[in-house]
Amino acid sequence: MAQSGPTLHYSGHQYLRHRLVLSILSGKPVKIDKIRPEDKNPGLTDYEVSLLRLLERVTNGTIIEISLTGTAILLKPGIIAGGPVTHECPLSRSIGYFLEPIIMIAPFAKKPLQLTLRGVTTDDYDLSADLIRTVTLPHLELFGVSDGLELRIKKRGSPPGGGGEVQFLCPVVKQVKTLNFVDAGKIKRIRGIAHAVRVSPQFSNRMIEACRSIVNRYIPDIYLYSDVYKGEESGKSPGYALTLLAESTTGAIHCSEAVSQPGIAPEDVALTATRALLAEIRKGGCVDQKHQSMVLLMMVLGSEDVGRCRMGEFTPRTIQFLRDVRDFFGTSFKIVPADPSDPSSRELQLSCYGTGYINTNRSLA
């Protein structure tokens, strides 16, 4: 959006990504200072600079000023352009780091985004390509962003060598739908993807077996897929991971993932992932904990109607996001316990009045 409002001011490198996203969506410039001023490597890191470059290319007319020391940035957002973009991600972070903010802005672009990202596809810090494909995109579909929404994993890339490649296709929408999701339902199936690259393909079967030893007791509908990538497609470094998701009768999805580490057996990786999934299921709510902020953002942008969503316990990121979204859009949520009668329940029901955000970038058809 071309309009400019008052500049918002933040300090610190934390929560950089969602602040940049909010700035671009709201059209309000944002200034962030005191980025690691005391660190022995002060200022922006390579991946943060790379993210800024990527945002610059996905948008049109965005002005980014970085101070000499790199400890302060000023972003004046332009319009979200979309179209074909290719970006090399530094190997210090996985492509999830870059894709997560892009997913939040891509539906509001002028043209459908076709983004190719190269780098690490799975790591311990951010959503892996598998999680984004199987969990994040369904969460986006709740808001009516669905036709042509796709993530293709062309090549896998484990840290530290990377060498993976994904292609993200996102349609544009005029407006997102209002969400009304308060019934979490019951888990009806469990799905999983075990992948192993540049190690014995037997590793994914061992992970699947270990996972089944725990979840078989709950439900018969379990399908764990062993995803094989060979040769060029398997990237430059060895690695394996297990991605799990549990889907409920109402379409709520909870997920977990564990990634290989040196000296840890595939069975233990699988147990970590499985237990993390159970912990996530116990937290409850209708959306996965790692996707709270994205869902909240889309609720804020929804049509001028009251959106409701039931969530498990907040993460620190979610709390900061709630505060920041109020700074940018003036929307605050009403947060009440989901089951007032049950004192042991920690689930919350959030509701807000959508801002009726309209995609003005979209070329009129």
């Binding site: 997560e100 439900i219 237990r275 316990p337």
Partner: protein
């Protein structure tokens, strides 16, 4: 003390009108009432505390996945806990 007992925390107020950091809101369950008071009555005490929290979290990466701690997952070795989760599945019977 009262708000500690009934655990019904006013999230709207904690998030929108307190100065607590997100970490404080989440982890300081027992102290939150004290902090609230400190916030109202004693500005100085509060600033010192928040600075401590900041330095602690300074090295935290901007990451989406929560750090999974092995200790936290240890509890899932317990069969009773595993069974208690059955109610979340369609196969777990109708009642609750």
């Amino acid at each position: 003390l009262q708000s500690r007992q009934n655990r019904k925390r006013d999230w709207t107020k904690l998030i929108y009108s307190s100065q607590l950091t997100p970490q404080q809101i989440l982890h300081d369950d027992s102290q939150s009432t004290n902090d609230d008071k400190a916030n109202e009555e004693d500005e100085e005490f509060f600033t010192v505390k928040s600075r401590n929290f900041l330095t602690e979290d300074d090295e935290v990466l901007d990451m989406t996945k929560e750090v999974t701690r092995e200790e936290d997952l240890k509890e899932w070795e317990d069969e009773d806990l595993l069974d208690s989760l059955r109610k979340c599945f369609i196969t777990g019977g109708g009642g609750e």
